[in-house]
Amino acid sequence: MSTRGRPKGGDSAQTKKKILDAARLEFATNGYDGASIMAIAANVGIAPSAVYHYFQSKEKLYTDVFEQTSNSIWESVTPSEDASTLLDAMRELLDDSRQLAEQLPSYSDFLASLPIEARLHPEFSELLEKRAVYQDRTFRRLASIGIASGELDFLTEDEATELIRSIVMGWFFERHFRQAEIPNSGESILAMFEHLLNSD
């Protein structure tokens, strides 16, 4: 006998994931205010009421997309434990970020628009704090690699962290705004760290 009706079991997790994917793209493209639950539902092939079954409100849906997207992005761009120089760690980070932007453009676009959404909608200001936690974890780790290797040993940990934050986010936002990197900007960052590595 053929199976009919709603398949059971793992299906619900899969539907949830499909909704998150469709919602990420919708939020990234049209912003929070412009995003339509109808469009998200239509993309997944379910009724709009089913979206509310999984996520109680548009606000909850946005928050969950944020959590899921941040987790996977920051997980993949955080330098591996065996990176011994900031140059290597930065090269890894830039390459991972480029790959993500190419394969999963809605992830980068969603995260780039988050701070602006948080300012428009004070109910999301908590997400800005969470964003800072994700950032700090990665940038502090890069800073301590750079200080230990000697590349940034002339800076305090806070100074190194803020410098790296400005560089990485500057590179990231310029790419996002233009939908392409400023030519050779990634290479310039790496050449600078290479110089610092070899000049000691």
Partner: protein, 199 residues
């Protein structure tokens, strides 16, 4: 004696004052709500005039945005550019970033408006020829900054192109990230000046 001039509507500069009131109200609406959500009638109301009067000065939202950009850039850019006449690149970085920081404390809507421009351009490419001066300014500022460092001998080893790209990314990143995370501080400035001493 009664001064006749004080009664009734003053003539002459009146129209400029009205225009300034619109620009001031619009700057706040564009930064707080974004270009797409900003409404001409709310802006007119906040400025204390009717939407019809607003449209007399600015026929559409694009004209208004372009006027706000020009007024804001005219206020902010000269305060940044004057640091290019510093005796050293280190002082130029220190001074321009400190100045930007000061403006962002005293008139946050000015620097936040400018920091939002590139994200609006991404969404509304039709605005790009209205703010073309921005890209020219950015290129002029960073290439002059590096030329200064080359002249003073602060920059020796790496190429000009590499320096221009690197300092541009780091300083623009400081502006974007500081405004977006609502935490503009001067730690990056200290770090960049120390880094410059290593070049």
């Amino acid at each position: 004696m009664v001064d006749k001039r004080s009664s009734g509507r003053p003539t002459g500069k009146d129209s400029t004052e009205v225009r300034d009131a619109y620009i001031k109200a619009a700057r706040i609406h564009f930064t707080e709500n974004g270009y797409s959500n900003a409404s001409m009638s709310t802006i007119a109301k906040d400025a204390g005039y009717t939407p019809t009067a607003l449209r007399h000065h600015f026929p559409n939202k694009m004209e208004l945005y372009s006027a706000v950009f020009a007024a804001t850039a005219n206020e902010v850019y000269p305060q940044i550019v004057r640091h290019l006449y510093s005796p050293s690149m280190a002082q130029a970085i220190e001074g321009s970033m400190a100045n930007m920081h000061r403006i962002s404390n005293n008139s946050p809507e000015y620097t936040y408006f400018l920091a939002r421009v590139p994200s609006e351009l991404r969404k509304f490419p039709e605005l790009s020829d209205r703010v073309e001066v921005r890209e020219n300014f950015t290129e002029f500022f960073y290439s002059s900054l590096i030329a200064l460092g080359r002249k003073t001998g602060e920059l020796e080893n790496l190429t000009d192109e590499l320096h221009i790209k690197f300092f541009r990314i780091a300083m623009q990143g400081w502006i974007y990230e500081g405004h977006y995370s609502q935490n503009v501080n001067l730690t990056t400035q200290t770090a960049l000046v120390k880094l410059l001493q290593r070049l």
